[in-house]
């Protein structure tokens, strides 16, 4: 599964509790209220456990977490430590 699909699936089932809901890769996750601070923490823990990537706190910024696309791009970048 690609990182984009992994994130999309987690947000649909675990955060929004609606497996069929439509959410785009570029939709604003934080401004539209999809993620609150607790959900961000859970998502980070889930990503660390399921992608084997360590996500340091200073990387959990608006730039890297504004949308599903942004998170996937962050995880896919070579500097993220596997």
């Amino acid at each position: 599964m690609t990182n984009q699909l992994l994130i999309l699936d987690y947000i649909r089932t675990e955060i929004l509790h609606d497996a069929g809901c439509s959410i785009g890769v570029d939709d604003e996750l934080l401004l539209d209220g999809v993620l609150d601070s607790l959900a961000v923490m859970r998502l980070v823990a889930f990503l660390e456990a399921n992608t084997g990537t360590a996500i340091p706190p200073e990387d959990v910024t608006l730039e890297n977490f504004r949308s599903i696309g942004a998170i996937a791009a962050y995880l896919d970048q070579p500097s993220a430590s596997p």
């Binding site: 089932t13 401004l31 209220g33 601070s37 706190p57 910024t61």
Partner: protein, 529 residues
Amino acid sequence: MMRFLIHSPVSHFARELPEHPALSFNGQEMSYAALDAASNQLANALIENGMKKHERVGIFMHKSLELGVAIYGALKAGGVFVPLDPFLPVERLQFILQDCQIEHLISTDKLAKQISELTNASTLRVYGVSSETPFAQTDWRQIREFPTTAPDVSLIDQDLGYIMYTSGSTGHPKGMMHTHHGSISYARWGAIHVDLTPADRVASHAPLHFDLSIFDFFSTAQAGATVVLVPEPVTKLPASWTACIESERISVVFTVPFTLIEMLQRGAMDKRDLSSLRWILFGGEPFPPKHLRLLMRALPETRFTNVYGPAEAPSCTCYDVPPLEDDADEPIPIGTVSLNSADLIIGEDDSECGIDEEGELCIRSSTLTKGYWNRPDLNARVFLRKDSFGPFPDVYFRTGDLVMRRADGQLRFLGRKDRMVKTRGYRVELDEVEAALASHDRVSEAAAFTIPDAHGSKAIFASVILHGKGDDATTAILQHASNKIPAYALPQHIEIVADFPRTSSGKIDRKRLADQQTETNGSRKPGQS
């Protein structure tokens, strides 16, 4: 100069410090002169569209410079502003609009979709929205055509300034009415306590519908200082929040312990220059001393104050935290009453408690609410009238909070008399959570309870009994409840059970449910909900 109204300082500083920034958002600033002019235009637009003095004006917006214009525009038109959480489910938004008969709603294009879903609102006029909605509209371009002079509206400080809605145990939110007088008393207390000057840059971190925002906007305005509106996404990301403190040179913050613990644990504080931060006020729920000690050590130049006060009587007590000893784990006191408040601790029979005796805290304060909008039943219950002299009883608010006075005079918070809980600083009535769950067709009975979470706060969990047999319905039930209650009040986990543990009288034993869940939760892996 007339300084009895919440909005008076804006006109005052528009004359005294016209170019000084009143608001800052995402690197953009708005001066006192510009804020005064823009809010006058909005006030004139509201009046021109039929708004009468004392009418409620909804503010349904994200953080932005226009949010400041909306607050002062509504007040200058003689209105009572009603903060509406932009993340509110439409059903709940609709309830509030109808409950306090809002016909004028100030909003933004980003929320046009939610506004379009409102029904039974044929007389609604929406301001600040250009995208099409089914309602009458006046957008910002049209508002800017109105005169920049203040409308002629006569108000006194006993008039209502705002109504703030909070969780209600009946399943519907309840609105607290606050006067200009009460808000100014709260604002002045804040400005004096932390000695605000025009040089200060005060964060607006809490949402507008949370009463910390009254300090953020109005204490700041009392001093001619600058409000730094923190964008909602930044408030959810500790590393972005510390970057914001650094880049905006924020000097004063009033927030909840949850935000500060997150900042300590995930804010990469060592990578930021936070030297501008001279005072942190916190409130909403107890701050575990072990976390507070670490934060105070990380910010040795910053002063810390624990502010206590239900939204009905904001900032009625406070405690300036001294350096904490290494092994100190005694809860942080809520301090002593502020200069504009008086306290009374009463036992079961309303008699006064002595030193070290547990009782309910009752507060008399110039910040006290006028009561709940449209709820004579509640208003008859929550105020305690105590004869002091002659025919003028003192009116106290029963906070529902259990406290005791220590021998040194400091008050210690011990818990709640009822089922209201605090989660990440938000006030939630567990009865309301249960009502939202039980309104789903498949749910026969629901029990909501809290367990301690890893961030020094409480997490809401629920157990439900279903009608008949069928598929796992937890997702559908959560989805259903999310249309009724705010996201922060939604249970993090729902367990389907065949029956609840019961007490000998047949009542649901929620304490045992919580204990069982705490054990199970301890064994759950990270990332699982």
